[in-house]
């Protein structure tokens, strides 16, 4: 039976309940038996698990990224790309496998604790505070920091100059591409060691997409590892140091981005020939 506290009987009474979704994060329970099969700066090692008590979505899936590199997860719809990334970030119940950051086992940490450890996450949707100004969005990104954040903010503005002009505007009023810049900027404000992006180019125009990819490369050059899920597999693999092709929650192909682009099987199945 479902949790009686979560049974609202279909009530949608706007005069007494706020329809805005409340947070869905729970502490990841951890798997209790760490595995160690490979090494990388950030690695989701042999992960098996699913949402809550539901069926497994990931099956012995491994995703890793090295310092200053860009790793991209691609694959067909429903392959578990976003799920794999969420598993690394602790939003999934893993039954097997481990997640390690810089050698430290973080499998049982909550997403918030992972942020504190130096992981930045940009969700695919609802990734900005729409009612707050651009500058406030960035400030909130740096909420955990007690030191002077003006330098980091200046770096973000250098990276995304348009945000500096719009810094007093509500983020919700910006265009799709600008919103994504705010979202990435917010995540950078924590000065993360790893930046995780869930389909950062979803719904933006091709020009904006190229622009965003350029910025992402720039970020990687500063030494931040990037792990990203992408629909636009070809363009993403072109900038990737490492590519993971997932199929039904399993690693189908893993190689450098270039090698995958040239792999005839991958081309045929996933890149449209």
């Amino acid at each position: 039976m479902s949790n009686p506290y979560q049974d609202d009987r279909g009530n949608k009474d706007a005069s007494v309940t706020n329809p805005k979704p409340s947070g869905g994060f729970k502490a990841a329970p951890g798997t209790g038996h760490p595995e160690h099969n490979a090494d990388a700066f950030l690695i989701g090692d042999n992960m098996t698990g699913g949402y809550g008590k539901g069926a497994d979505i990931l099956h012995s899936c491994t995703i890793a990224v090295n310092k200053g590199e860009i790793a991209v997860i691609v694959g067909p719809n429903g392959a578990g790309k976003s799920t794999g990334m969420k598993a690394v970030f602790g939003m999934l119940n893993l039954r097997e496998g481990s997640v390690r950051l810089d050698g430290e086992d973080i499998t049982s940490l909550t997403p918030q604790d992972r942020v504190a450890k130096g992981m930045g996450f940009v969700p695919q949707t609802s990734n900005i505070f729409t009612s707050m100004t651009v500058e406030e969005n960035l400030e909130m990104g740096a909420f955990l920091r007690r030191d002077d954040i003006s330098e980091t903010m200046e770096q973000v503005y250098t990276l995304f100059p348009i945000l500096k002009d719009k810094r007093r505007q509500a983020a919700g009023e910006l265009s799709g591409g600008q919103r994504q810049q705010v979202a990435v900027g917010r995540a950078l404000m924590t000065q993360p060691k790893v930046l995780m992006l869930d389909e950062p180019t979803a719904g933006v125009s091709p020009i904006v997409m190229d622009e965003l990819f350029d910025r992402i490369i720039e970020v990687a050059r500063t030494g931040i590892s990037i792990l990203m899920v992408e629909q636009n597999a070809r363009q993403a693999l072109e900038i990737a140091d490492k590519g993971y092709v997932l199929v039904q929650g399993r690693n189908a192909y893993t190689d450098t981005g270039r090698a995958l682009l040239e792999d005839p099987d991958v081309r045929k199945s996933f890149l449209g020939g």
Partner: protein, 336 residues
């Protein structure tokens, strides 16, 4: 001269009382809207939270009075107010710890919290009646008037007097200070911004490292302060009776919804909209009509659109009209 007299009568019977009442409703509605924005449910216990805070203030007022402490021309209750706020803060924090927190951990749906708040309402209501009793309590002292009707007449030579009660002046001043502080807090401080962020997008706030329990705690503290201030001002202006405070829930909810639930600016606007419509529609306009109309057109009746007992009906109709034309309230209901 007649025009001036009519204007003074309008000020005296409509504008001054409605402004004071509107400020009280606005402070109440701000509390409801903050809870709605951050804890995501409408708190049925808000009226009783106001009653509790006011009760503590009254008890301290009586204690001060018995020791001979007074605040000169201002009501002693103003000195007791900080203690009332502290008492109310303690109550809501204990309630949150003992009741609401469990449901947050369970990720309970907001409507379950609404029902829980009904239980809290019963308990607080019982508690207040148990401690201070169900009867009317008056606790105002100091100067009763800033300007009394007699002084005003003597000063201006008009037939109509304008009386401004100390409690009314105080209400407006205190409300302005409280609202200014609140907005400064929400827009300028790190904690206040984190509350707005949490209300806007809970998941993203967590990803930014904002601690939800701290946000919730600050929210309750602010709500307790607002509720106590609103309750004490209302009590000074009228009188304190637990049941009346419970019934204030309807105009307060109406104000918060008219303004757009979750929007503090809307709550303030909603409070004044509701207060002004209640007072204008239930006021007997005979006096003013007599000044303005030629003698032979003098009305026989009271020229009262609705009897005072229908003031709830007024808030309700305003609410319906606003919702029909602007489903999210006057100010779009969004984040805190």
């Amino acid at each position: 001269m007649d025009l001036l007299n009519a204007l003074v009568a309008l000020l005296n019977f409509v504008i001054v009382p409605a402004t004071a009442y509107g400020a009280q409703l606005a402070l109440g509605a701000l509390g409801v809207t903050l809870i709605y924005g951050i804890l995501r449910f409408s708190n049925f216990a808000h009226g009783d939270t106001m009653a509790f805070g006011t009760m503590v203030t009254i008890l301290f007022t009586w204690w001060f009075q018995s020791m001979g402490i007074s605040f000169g021309p201002l009501p002693t209750a103003l000195l007791a107010l900080p203690f009332g706020i502290l008492g109310c803060m303690a109550l809501v924090l204990v309630t949150d710890r003992m009741v609401y927190r469990f449901y947050r951990e369970q990720k309970a749906k907001p409507v379950i919290l609404v029902i829980v708040s009904m239980g809290v309402m019963f308990v607080m209501n019982g508690l207040v009646r148990f401690i201070i009793g169900p009867d009317d309590q008056r606790f105002g002292d100091g100067e009763r008037f800033i300007i009394s009707a007699r002084d005003f007449k003597a000063m201006t030579g008009l037939r109509e007097g304008l009386a401004i009660k100390t409690s009314q002046g105080l209400t407006v001043v205190v409300a302005v200070i409280a609202v200014a502080l609140l907005f400064w807090f929400l827009n300028r401080t790190r904690t206040g911004k984190s509350m707005r962020a949490y209300s806007d997008n809970e998941d993203l706030a967590l990803l930014s490292g904002i601690n939800p329990e701290r946000v919730v705690m600050y929210t309750w503290l602010i709500v307790a302060a607002l509720a106590t201030v609103a309750g004490t001002l209302y009590g000074l202006d009228k009188s304190f009776k637990p049941f009346v405070y419970f019934q204030l829930l309807l105009p307060i909810f109406a104000a918060a919804i008219v303004g757009g639930l979750g929007n503090p600016l809307g709550a303030i606007a909603g409070g004044f909209v509701i207060a002004f419509s209640e007072v204008t529609i239930t006021y007997a306009w005979k006096k003013i009509a007599r000044y303005l109309l030629p003698d032979h057109l003098d009305p026989d009746g009271l020229v009262q659109l609705l009897s005072t007992d229908y003031k709830f009906a007024v808030s309700f109709v305003i609410l319906l009209i606003v919702l029909l034309f602007r489903p999210t309230g006057l100010f779009k209901g969004k984040s805190v």
